[in-house]
């Protein structure tokens, strides 16, 4: 029986090779490699002549919360670091927006509101000197995300005097989290800053690792977000030129389409989309979100917990090196939420965090106290409502100055 490998013929092989030289697909692949190389070279600072390839962290196709955050931080005329950097997840974020909405009696636009006026005023009054702050508190922020945001802040604007980091057990262990690299904060920050020492550790699944290496291998694949941004910019410009549309960046769409877009692009949020308005009723609504948290706590993952703890250690270590004092605030939770946590989880979380904080001379302030924060201050089982947000910052400022150790941190001069 004839087989192609039984009797290899030199002439046939040569002619086949000759034929493959005529392959237009192989020619296209060669062009791709060439183009990729040209782009890679052009992106180097010494060859940086094309506006087209001047990528920027502020030129991204989807405007996520971390984008709005970094946008304000990087474009702010103030070149100095804030006195206080606030870190934390949606627990801190809710308190920040709600607290200022009640304090200032004005709606707060979540896309642009990254400084707590309430906290600034409270600390200024207590310290007797002007106090500034900037909040890197974002929904879903894991400890790993907080660590990356902090390191980026150090790199961009130098060291703040102190970090106040609102932590909760979910920030260390969330069953819904596939990997460190899967969060929007990580994805965005990997675009903005150099995370090469974390990249492999942060990815767990083979598909994540393969995509990472493909991105490394090909400049175009690694910068696809930048190219999508360019395509969107061109599409918007063309649409605005040819059709009667103005300012396509402002979201105008029916609710059902917005919801549908959210399910496809949950990270995308327009500048005009979310406002926190001061409460109009005496008792704010309470929403039972225990089912969500049962899911988040459903399977205890100590490996993930230890991994996230290692990021806290990294943050504390970097902070100590940079001379930044860290105050870890154990955020208030409802007793309902504590009751659904896996056995020993909360205890172990608090022990480990306290031990680590002691090792790095960081301070832990435990504000998870049902007497200080009764249920009327909660919007659901974990998030403070607007009045709760104001109350939180008042209690925090009070504690910071009533405890001698934290007071020393607060009045310390740079």
């Amino acid at each position: 029986m004839h087989t192609s490998l039984d009797k290899p013929k030199v002439e046939e092989c040569l002619s086949r090779r000759e034929n493959f030289r005529k392959s237009y697909v192989l020619l296209a692949l060669a062009f791709y490699i060439l183009l990729d190389g040209i782009f890679r070279l052009s992106s180097l600072p010494q060859f940086h002549n094309f506006d087209f390839l001047k990528f920027s962290p502020l030129k991204v196709p989807h405007r996520s919360w971390v984008y709005w955050n970094e946008r304000e931080f990087l474009t702010s005329p103030d070149k100095n670091p804030p006195d206080t950097a606030l870190l934390g997840s949606s627990l801190m974020m809710a308190a920040l927006h709600g607290g200022d909405a009640v304090y200032l009696e004005q709606p707060q636009n979540v896309a642009f509101h990254h400084k707590s006026r309430l906290l600034a005023d409270l600390l200024t009054a207590a310290a007797g000197k002007p106090e500034s702050n900037f909040a890197f508190a974002l929904g879903g922020e894991m400890v790993s995300d907080a660590c990356i945001l902090f390191e980026h802040m150090l790199k961009e604007k130098g060291a703040p005097q102190r970090v106040i980091y609102g932590i909760a057990p979910r920030d260390f262990m969330d069953s819904a989290l596939p990997s460190v690299a899967s969060t929007e904060i990580y994805r965005y920050m990997s675009h903005v800053s150099d995370l090469s020492d974390l990249e492999m550790k942060a990815r767990t699944s083979p598909s994540e690792k393969i995509e990472y290496w493909l991105g490394k291998l090909s400049f175009i694949a690694g910068h696809k977000e930048d190219f999508i941004y360019i395509q969107q910019r061109w599409a918007k410009a063309l649409t605005e030129k040819l059709l009667p549309y103005k300012d396509l960046d402002m979201v105008k769409t029916p609710l059902h389409i917005r919801r549908q877009a959210f399910s496809e692009l949950p990270e995308d949020s327009g500048a005009n989309e979310v406002l926190t308005c001061p409460p109009r009723v005496a008792q704010e609504a309470y929403e039972d979100n225990l089912a969500e948290y049962r899911y988040r706590y459903r399977k205890i993952n100590w490996k993930q917990f230890d991994d996230q703890l290692s990021y806290l250690e990294r943050l504390l270590s970097r902070a100590r090196q940079a001379g930044v004092s860290v105050i870890l605030v154990n955020m208030p939770l409802t007793s309902d939420n504590l009751a659904i946590m896996p056995e020993n989880f909360y205890k172990r979380y608090l022990e480990k965090v306290t031990t680590l904080a002691e090792r790095y001379q960081a301070k832990v302030l435990d504000l998870n106290n049902a007497q200080l924060f009764p249920r009327c201050y909660f919007a659901d089982s974990v998030h403070l409502n607007m009045r709760g947000g104001k109350h939180f910052f008042e209690v925090l400022a009070d504690r910071l100055f009533s405890d001698p150790q934290t007071k020393a941190i607060m009045i310390k001069r740079p």
């Binding site: 237009y24 879903g140 393969i210 599409a235």
Partner: protein, 485 residues
């Protein structure tokens, strides 16, 4: 394993390399193993179904062929067809039949019935069951059965066509397996170009249009008739680019192994009548329906009314094949009626020379093409809408485009006020571009320009497709979506 997944991007080159590095006699086995791995990547247990049906049909083919008595031959054929259809009915239509029964019982004052178990629809069952039926029927009609079991098993399970066709014919396919495969530059280039083209159709066009279409079809009551026509046009292009993109990847993947599978689409929206549309749309299915349903029902033999009846039954069942829901059935019935009407009016054209002249003129051709496209779009509303009542809501608005009906409300548009996501404002540029592209492809194909295109231009076109796939393919890495609850 989806064609536009990272898994397939790794799977295909591995199988390609193994196939061409091995000896001829092992190649069918390598493809068979790869096809089963491909199938098991979704739900491993369903390999038993495809394997079971393969073994049963293989032996039933021999039983039909060897039977001397026509009665016995027919019995074996009936057993084979019934077995295949029962497996399809159980997995695909059990819920549908149960729902119909429940509605009937409820209407007569009874209680709803519930299936005592959950049924998962195995991927590709509609396609491989049709291939098995084609096989046993053709063996019954006198074709030689396939002797080689691996070749027969591969015919039904061949991974490029396993999930969504095209529906193959064994007479065309098996000789290709049995002949020594040869990798040529032409098949390599065509194969990879087709894969890239299919991925571009899916990722660049179909997925974006799908996002737009969902917005209109989920709440048609919010939109005017004019808006809803745009959603219908968008769906017409979405389904075309989605399905033909899939077919392109399937055909391209097969070509990389030196095999040809039939084309499924040939610029369907350039059809100037509904009969021509079905010669251009899902060709492998329409020819299957013709050969194994329409002709056995009597086809064009007998009276013209029997002919119309056969057309309507064929298309209605064809509609139900697309999905187990009443709106698919109505879609099929609608096409059956259109085909019957076309057949009914055809003699009129022959008897009136002026009408024939007008229809055959360039302006007549354009008009009839536009008319056919709009009739197809009306059909797509039934196909895409989740229920018939939603489809009727949409159609009532779409067909009330007049300043005198409803105070001209259906002429006022909501779409131009929506600017997010970007597909909404850009749809006014995208749809005309897609229509122009469709027309351009028709004339390029007619003038035979593809064959005359120089190598450099082809390379540039392939390069643009590579860039599009690399840049616009969505990430496959898992995402932490904090607000998903």
């Amino acid at each position: 394993m989806l064609f536009n997944s990272l898994n397939y991007a790794l799977f295909l080159p591995i199988v390609f390399a193994l196939f061409w590095l091995s000896r001829d006699k092992w190649r069918v086995w390598i493809l068979l193993l790869a096809s089963y791995i491909f199938y098991m990547s979704w739900k491993p247990v369903f390999i038993l179904l495809i394997l079971g049906l393969t073994i049963a049909n293989y032996y039933l083919g021999f039983a039909i062929h060897k039977s001397q008595e026509p009665g016995r031959k027919k019995t074996w054929l009936t057993v084979a067809i019934t077995g295949n259809l029962l497996s399809l009915a159980f997995f695909k239509y059990a819920y549908f039949f149960n729902d119909c029964l429940s509605s009937l019982l409820k209407a007569t004052g009874g209680a709803a019935t519930h299936l005592p178990f959950d049924i998962i629809l195995p991927l590709g069952i509609s396609f491989f069951v049709f291939e098995f039926i084609h096989y046993v029927v053709d063996v019954y009609r006198g074709h030689e059965p396939i002797k080689s079991f691996p070749a027969f098993a591969l015919f039904a399970s061949f991974f490029p066509t396993q999930i969504a066709g095209p529906i193959k014919r064994f007479q065309d396919f098996i000789p290709q397996f049995l002949a020594p495969a040869k990798l040529t530059v032409a098949s390599f280039d065509s194969g990879l170009s087709l894969i890239l083209l299919g991925l571009c159709k899916k990722v660049l066009i179909a997925d974006n249009l799908s996002f737009f279409v969902q917005g209109g079809f989920s709440k048609p009551e919010l939109f005017s008739g004019l808006d809803l026509w745009l959603f219908a046009y968008a769906f017409a292009f979405q389904i075309y680019f989605d399905f033909s993109g899939y077919t392109d990847v399937a055909r391209g993947s097969a070509m990389l192994f030196g095999y040809k599978v039939p084309i499924n689409f040939n610029l369907p929206y350039m059809a100037s009548n509904i009969s021509e549309f079905w010669h251009r749309w899902h060709i492998s299915l329409s020819t299957w329906l013709r050969d194994y349903l329409f002709i056995p029902l009597g086809g064009s033999r007998g009276s013209k009314w029997l002919n119309y009846r056969n057309l309507i039954i064929t298309m209605t069942l064809g509609g139900l094949w697309h999905g187990a829901a009443l709106h698919f059935l109505v879609w099929g019935l609608f096409h059956g009626l259109l085909l019957a009407a076309h057949k009914l009016l055809q003699p009129l054209k022959e008897t009136l020379p002026a009408l024939k002249k007008a229809i055959d003129s360039p302006a007549g051709r354009v008009t009839s093409t536009l008319l056919t496209f709009h009739m197809v779009c009306i059909g797509w509303v039934f196909f895409r809408a989740e229920t018939n009542s939603l489809a009727l809501t949409m159609l009532a608005r779409m067909l009330s485009l007049s300043p005198v009906i409803d105070g001209g409300k259906q002429l006022a548009m909501l779409l131009p006020t929506i600017n997010y996501p970007l597909i909404y404002p850009t749809i006014f540029l995208i749809l005309p571009l897609l229509a122009a592209g469709h027309i351009a492809c028709y004339f390029i194909g007619k003038a035979g320009l593809v064959a005359k295109t120089p190598q450099l231009a082809r390379a540039a076109f392939v390069l643009s497709m590579i860039l599009a796939v690399v840049i616009f393919s969505p990430d496959k890495s898992p995402r932490f979506i904090y607000f998903q609850f």
